[in-house]
């Protein structure tokens, strides 16, 4: 049985239940609701602090019109970062490596920013398609290029998340396989490789957080152009 390195990304199903549904539905027990009393425990305090500081930082460059998105964008950050981080645990399935999930999040949110721009300030939204001070012969070409770059944004948003997580999981699996293969032959090299594997795992933890942040940050930038 030839195991492909890409088999880890195949959406598994156990007892007839697709595990992607479990992996999306269950992690939220890690976010307990704060009680109505004043005193919280440490977990809730640090979660609340992170959520509030993040929302504050994200909303700083936005106009007040865009602040309605604070809850949505903070929720998106929590959603992505939780799924990305839990996916790094061994023997877990990561829903955010699936292109369909990422595009399912990217396209509606991007479309919402564009529709808001076209509805509330159509002149500015259409004006974004042509930078000021363009030489006359370049105008038709530039409008086409800007239109393409506008419509390619959701694609880039979804593919970026998929590609980053896929590449990270693949690298971890490749190097872990190398450690096991090298161990009986060259133990010293295997130990060195295991060190690299450890460092790579640290990097992937960082990537899981950074990519969730980049997804939300880019959406907030698209929103900024349209409010």
């Amino acid at each position: 049985m030839a195991m492909s390195f890409f088999d880890q990304f195949a959406s598994p199903s156990y007892l007839g239940i697709p595990l992607i549904a479990i992996a999306i539905a269950l992690p939220w027990v890690l976010f307990p609701l704060p009680s109505l009393r004043w005193v919280n425990n440490r977990l809730i305090t640090i979660q609340g602090w992170l959520i509030n500081r993040f929302t504050n930082q994200l909303m700083l460059p936005l106009n007040t019109g865009g602040h309605k998105w604070a809850l949505l964008l903070a929720s998106l950050m929590v959603f992505l970062i939780t799924i990305n981080m839990l996916g790094l645990l061994p023997y877990t399935f990561t829903p955010t490596t699936q292109l369909s999930l990422n595009m399912g999040l990217a396209i509606p949110l991007w479309l919402a920013t564009v529709i808001i721009g076209l509805r509330n300030q159509p002149t500015v939204a259409l004006g974004d398609l042509l930078p000021e001070g363009t030489p006359l012969p370049l105008i038709p070409v530039l409008i086409i290029i800007e239109t393409i770059s506008l419509f390619i944004r959701p694609l880039a948003l979804g593919v970026r998340l998929t590609a980053n997580l896929t590449a990270g999981h693949l690298l971890i699996q490749l190097i872990a396989t190398a450690v096991f293969v090298l161990l009986p032959m060259m133990p010293t090299v295997a130990i060195l490789t295991a060190t690299v594997l450890f460092l790579l795992t640290l990097l992937e933890v960082a990537v899981a957080m950074i990519q969730a942040y980049v997804f939300v940050l880019l959406l907030s930038l698209y929103l900024q152009e349209n409010v």
């Binding site: 990304f9 959406s11 976010f31 609701l33 509030n52 809850l71 929590v78 490596t97 369909s100 595009m103």
Partner: protein
């Protein structure tokens, strides 16, 4: 590459948005408070030095 297979894309879309809109915003909203908390004042009451009255 199975991660690029869009196979049940509509189910994934509906289910992930259902979770995303139904569960997480309530969790996030739970962390908002109407007033900023302020640290307790560290000032102590000023006390006069005193001595036993018969001395």
């Amino acid at each position: 590459m199975p991660q690029l297979n869009p196979a049940p894309w509509f189910t994934i879309l509906v289910f992930s948005w259902m979770i995303f809109l139904a569960i997480i915003p309530t969790k996030v909203m739970g962390h908002t408070s109407p007033n900023d908390s302020s640290p307790l004042s560290t000032e102590k009451h000023k006390t006069e030095s005193w001595d036993w009255p018969w001395q």
